[in-house]
């Protein structure tokens, strides 16, 4: 039972834009960086890119446009939508909020929302159940391309248009079986994490790499992008520990062992923030380690608080989840209008540091940072 909850805290993320923000290396014992002042994050050369499931070229979500006449036509249709998510988290909450706001503009009402807890069997049940309400469109993140495909076939047969987040069911083709797939710019997310960590440690030193040891498109792409970027662009940075996190709740134990073996670590990358990066941060604290800089993906209160207080956390790379939701809703309108949508849409990501915490939260989740974080920055 625990496993799905553990995994259930995953989030997606990515970026088209390369962001130059200020890294925080305010900790005076950041010897590796050689400077106590904030280090500017420089964007390194891109050694890869996010491509669609069938090698499609990425189109930015900003390319989706609806004319006033088109919006009126959608409004007149009295359409309904169902959201069949893979999990519940602040990520899906923000995507849902983005979709809901956009649907409101389009006169589409949301009739059902589900959460599969990463269980393909449950997601199939959820999809079959919501089909009883005959939704016109379905926004969804397929838990697993293989084992959920039959459920999406049923949705197709019922005439429900599909807009996909991140994953594409096996054997599905755009235009016929689904309107579009929307995701984060996963490669850019991993790359921005690499650039942020490199800046924080002065482009040289020893780094531990905690990746997500599961078959999951989103985290796998991001993790590999981080590693590839470090290896290609930062020759003086050495990955001394390559540690797979299979159970995200056990990251603390794994990190303690790595810290014991490598007391002189300069930097740490953790695949996603909650719970593994939180676990790694508590291992650092238990260890009294104030030197190692920590970079992770996705916003999270304890990590943002540590960053605001000038602790180990130096940057959190995050996706624009709210914008993903808006783009999905807009793609749904394309489907309802029988207007051809770009096959593979990516929403940009952003690097959040101490310097741009408030803007980062707004851009990603469309909300202010938690009060504790705001207070700490004052």
């Amino acid at each position: 039972m625990r496993t799905h909850r553990l995994i259930a805290t995953l989030a997606t993320g990515a970026a088209m834009l390369v962001l130059a923000a200020c890294g925080d290396s305010s900790s005076s014992d950041n010897e590796a960086g050689g400077s106590a002042g904030p280090a500017e994050i420089k964007s390194s050369k891109s050694v890869g890119q996010t491509t669609g499931p069938n090698g499609e070229k990425a189109t930015p979500t900003s390319a989706l446009k609806l004319s006033v006449a088109e919006i009126e036509r959608v409004k007149a249709g009295g359409y309904t939508a169902a959201l069949t998510w893979h999990q519940s988290s602040d990520f899906t909450t923000a995507v849902t909020a983005g979709a809901k706001d956009e649907f409101a503009k389009l006169g589409i009402s949301i009739v059902a929302t589900t959460n599969a807890n990463f269980d393909a069997g449950k997601q199939k049940n959820d999809i079959e159940t919501v089909l009883a309400k005959k939704p016109s469109v379905m926004l969804t993140l397929p838990v697993d391309p293989v084992t959920t495909a039959s459920a999406y076939r049923a949705a197709n047969q019922a005439g429900t248009k599909l807009v996909l987040l991140s994953n594409v069911p096996k054997g599905f083709s755009q235009g016929e079986d689904y309107v579009a797939v929307v995701t984060d710019d996963l490669f850019q997310m991993g790359k921005q994490a690499a650039d942020a960590l490199a800046a924080a440690i002065g482009n040289e030193g020893k780094v531990a790499y905690f990746f997500h040891d599961a078959s999951y498109y989103v985290t796998n792409q991001r993790d590999q992008a981080f590693k590839k970027t470090i290896e290609a662009n930062y020759p003086k940075i050495e990955i001394v520990a390559d540690e797979g996190i299979a159970d995200p709740n056990k990251a603390q134990e794994q990190a303690s062992a790595i810290l014991l073996k490598n007391p002189d670590l300069d930097g740490i990358y953790v695949t996603f923030s909650q719970p593994p990066a939180e676990g790694v941060l508590s291992a650092l604290r238990n260890n009294g380690n104030t030197k190692a800089r920590l970079v992770s993906l996705d916003l999270d209160e304890p990590l943002a608080l540590d960053m605001a207080r000038g602790g180990n956390v130096t940057a959190l790379v995050t996706d624009k989840a709210y914008e993903l939701g808006q783009a999905m809703a807009r793609s749904a309108a394309y489907g309802l209008l029988d207007k051809k949508a770009p096959p593979f849409l990516v929403a940009p990501a952003t690097t959040v540091t101490k310097a741009n915490l408030a803007e980062g939260y707004q851009e990603s989740l469309h909300q202010a940072p938690p009060k504790s974080v705001l207070d700490a920055t004052k």
């Binding site: 039972m1 496993t3 799905h4 995994i7 998510w85 519940s88 899906t92 849902t96 949301i110 009739v111 059902a112 929302t113 589900t114 959460n115 807890n117 990463f118 269980d119 393909a120 069997g121 449950k122 199939k124 049940n125 959820d126 079959e128 159940t129 919501v130 009883a132 309400k133 005959k134 838990v143 697993d144 391309p145 293989v146 084992t147 959920t148 495909a149 039959s150 459920a151 096996k170 599961a214 078959s215 299979a246």
Partner: protein
């Protein structure tokens, strides 16, 4: 479970015997034994009224509920035996994943019959391991199956290196979950068969009586000549094998297998069994009740999704309704 007979033990056995004969007679009159059915009907009626415009009462949706709960219902039948014998099996969720993957891989690489045999064989093997540790080493099943739960989950993750395996054999898919027999979806027939066979052995065969006696008081059961260890081994093999069957049903229904299948099933199964009137600590239970328990869980889930609540609101509402349902059905009378 192997409590040495003591003076106190003997007294309580005598008392248990007496109270049971009285309670058996009273059960015919005790409305609480039937409240679970009433609760189920009330939940159905509640959703039928509140969701009359939302497709709840369509035959498709009602069939959906039975089909969707089939793996849970089938596992619940076996878990009635396990709990009644005073044991527990925490490994069933992991067995679902491993057996579905083993079946899918063998099915792809060898063929239909070997695939089914390998899937079910996986369950039997794990059940035997669980059972032997519990009986030969006299270990609590809670800890043994907690250990095998992790072990089996790890094997499921490593067997295909986290990759999902597609099931393309249509015969397999039809038999295990995707097809129909006449007007009935195969999943419903599997469920009915499991419940009928389970009920028959639980209520009308010596095996069921031995299971109950073992759970009620293992030491007493041993004295009366029941081979308690054999009973414990049998129920653990039964539950793992049934979990493997559930794994095949998932693989057939989803036309594929992956390491996460069944990950949310363990608590659902135990909840279904206990709601259905089986005591968590052995000695009494009901197979038909477990089916109703499973349908209650499935109906709640289905109705709350159709009601259009957000995922978080659904969890809250499910908790509240479940509390209501169990307050009605499982309340112990005042001593």
């Amino acid at each position: 479970m192997s409590v040495p007979p003591t003076a106190e033990g003997r007294t309580s056995r005598v008392e248990t015997g007496l109270t049971r004969s009285v309670s058996t007679r009273l059960r015919g009159l005790d409305p609480r034994a039937y409240v679970v059915y009433v609760a189920f009907l009330l939940i159905l009626a509640f959703f039928a009224i509140t969701l009359s415009d939302d497709g709840f009462v369509t035959s498709d949706n009602l069939l959906n509920i039975v089909e969707q709960t089939a793996p849970i219902s089938i596992m619940a039948v076996a878990v009635v035996f396990v709990l009644s014998a005073g044991e527990i099996d925490l490994s069933i969720g992991s067995v679902v994943a491993l057996s579905s993957l083993v079946a899918a891989v063998v099915l792809r690489d060898v063929g239909l019959v070997p695939g089914i045999a390998a899937g079910l064989g996986t369950g039997v093997a794990i059940g035997v391991v669980n059972g032997l540790f519990v009986t030969l080493l006299r270990l609590p099943s809670f800890l043994v199956t907690l250990a095998t739960m992790g072990l089996v989950a790890g094997l499921a993750r490593s067997i295909t290196d986290l990759e999902s395996v597609a099931v393309t054999d249509l015969t397999f898919a039809d038999v295990f979950g995707s097809g129909d027999v006449g007007p009935f979806p195969s999943l419903i027939l599997w469920t009915l068969a499991a419940v009928a066979v389970g009920h028959f052995f639980y209520r009308h065969r010596r095996f069921g009586a031995h299971v109950l006696a073992t759970g009620d008081n293992a030491a007493a059961a041993r004295v009366t000549g029941i081979r308690v260890d054999r009973v414990k081994l049998a129920v653990l093999v039964l539950s793992a094998t049934t979990a493997a069957l559930a794994g095949l049903l998932y693989a057939g229904r989803l036309q594929g297998a992956n390491y996460n299948l069944g990950s949310s099933d363990l608590l659902l199964v135990i909840a279904a069994v206990v709601i259905g009137g089986t005591r968590l600590f052995g000695g009494s239970g009901s197979v038909v009740g477990a089916l109703i328990g499973s349908l209650i869980m499935g109906t709640l889930n289905n109705g709350l999704i159709l009601s259009g609540l957000s995922a978080s609101e659904q969890l809250i509402a499910q908790g509240v309704l479940l509390l209501l349902a169990i307050s009605l059905t499982l309340r112990e009378p005042k001593a």
